[in-house]
Symmetry: C2
Subunit: 323 residues, 2 copies
């Protein structure tokens, strides 16, 4: 392992503390099974429905752990982050529940629905241009002005410990899982899954699912170092961001493999989930089902846990309907 001395890895103890801390603020999400999908894949699939979290995504776990772990002094200044998606929304939700300020830097091009949700939860948006330089510059200014605690969307030990509570619940709810599958973008959920699995169920294999068109994590794993793409284009909008040092540690040491799916395979799996599971899921979280359908030699005959990460979809614009 090549871990820089200055990065702070979350521990299993952190996960236990996190779970107790966030319990009043999250949903212990339901597990669904589906005969038709089992038949189609040859596997026994268990779906943990994080799309049923109040703000519609698993990121409420890490965000709540960060927000409710702040001392009162820290909390008075609130929290701040940059995000165009579910982390912004979930951090605003958690900050709203604690009654502290939440400042979010979002690209002006972010979906209006997500901006509306941030505002509805009491978050304050500062818009930036859709470029890394503008985002960093704007965020530095906002943070300097507000003094809010920076909660990174994934490269933060509090966030990873929070996300780890999802697979902790999963292993409590379903016995004898052979495999866990989750999507990978920046690697927060996968890192939390690694942390839980190597702590309490090291026999469980972990597969990360990634869009072919944003396969930087897969290439990083093969290369042995982080590869960050500048601006990948994929319908799985939650999975465009690169790994960072903390998440790279978990991914490089504990993930069995990273499997990829094409845009069409992701859309087909998304529609199939809507049809069979009757679940509204977003494109990013259809990638696991897509890779399961594509790789029966890995999954058939196994008890496979699938993390349904989120359900915040623009219902007016579905990828299989031409408008």
């Amino acid at each position: 392992m090549n871990i820089k001395a200055d990065i702070s890895l979350p521990t299993w103890q952190d996960v236990l503390v996190a779970h107790e801390r966030i319990a009043p603020h999250i949903r212990r999400t339901e597990i669904l099974t589906n005969d038709a999908l089992d038949q189609q894949t040859g596997a026994s699939l268990f779906f943990k429905c994080e799309n049923l979290q109040p703000p519609g995504a698993f990121k409420v776990r890490g965000a709540s752990n960060a927000v409710f772990g702040l001392s009162d002094d820290q909390a008075a200044k609130g929290v701040a982050t940059h995000s165009s998606g579910n982390h912004a929304l979930c951090l605003s939700y958690a900050a709203g529940r604690r009654g502290i300020p939440c400042n979010v830097v979002m690209p002006r091009t972010a979906p209006q629905a997500k901006k509306d949700a941030v505002i509805a939860y009491g978050g304050k948006i500062t818009e930036c241009e859709p470029s890394t330089s503008s985002r960093e510059e704007t965020f530095a200014r906002v943070q300097a002005e507000t003094g809010g605690d920076f909660v990174h969307p994934y490269n933060d030990p509090r966030v990873i410990a929070g996300q780890a509570t999802c697979s902790k619940e999963f292993l409590e709810q379903v016995e004898d899982l052979d495999i866990l599958v989750a999507p990978i973008g920046g690697g927060g959920m996968i890192s939390g899954t690694c942390l839980t699995v190597f702590s309490i169920a090291p026999h469980v294999k972990i597969y990360a699912a990634e869009p072919e068109q944003a396969d930087d994590a897969m290439r990083s794993l093969k290369a042995g170092h982080i590869i960050a793409d500048d601006a990948p284009e994929t319908i799985a909008d939650g999975l465009k961001v690169p790994l960072k040092d903390l998440t790279w540690h978990f991914v490089s040491n504990h993930v069995t493999d990273i499997l990829t799916a094409s845009e069409q395979e992701i859309i087909d799996a998304m529609k199939l989930s809507w049809k069979r599971l009757k679940m509204v899921i977003e494109p990013s979280c259809a990638v696991p089902l897509a890779v399961i359908l594509k790789n029966p030699e890995i999954f058939a005959g196994k008890r496979v846990g699938v993390i349904i990460t989120g359900g915040n979809v623009d219902l007016d614009k579905l990828p299989w309907i031409e408008t």
Copy 2:
């Protein structure tokens, strides 16, 4: 009560037998709650997700009770029915599980998703015009040809006893419900709900939810006798059929009231369910939420059980997206 001597009312004992008989073939469906919808309505809402039944609708309960209650001799000739959709596909599903023939008469205008499902489950479709008169005429011919046991979509004591198992489970799963709400078309689910409620929880009020544009049950209740429209037009395609003698008995004696919603209110409630509950539900089963949103004076402050009756939607054709 004005009950004709020759109609055979199902009893609570029939419900207990039905529940044991169908247990291997149905799902004990999950209950969802949702903070945002509770806030919006002022009620504590509990959603019983019958859309998660393997064939996507509650009608698998009554259909399975009928199919698995047949003697081997009766079963050899199979079953037959007419249905706008979910009963057809649920009866096909149940017949398929028993390995017996299933003939169904469906209006040619029924959703393609439902026709496809009937065929996938091994049912045989004969099409008719979308009117009660055409349906009954076509069915008489099909039944004469096949000799299959007629399992009426709702006016059949076996079917009503089967549907009653849904509210039986609901009352076992959620304590202290004040109100149950379900959609009303022919009245099978509502009749089963009445049967359960007056048998084991007579303090629970029952509200039926009906489209304004197919409000024959509401007008029947006010008039004191069955009013049947021949071919009402509503997006709630499962709710176009009229009450019959058995269901009229339950509706007229045990339903607290029938509330109606406009087409736009139904579409809005459907979209809201997708957005908030992350559940794919069909238009017919959005009517309860629509009437709850419309009548806060009845529901606010109450513990309200809502039966999410089905989720078989044509995903290529959503009512809020112009194509």
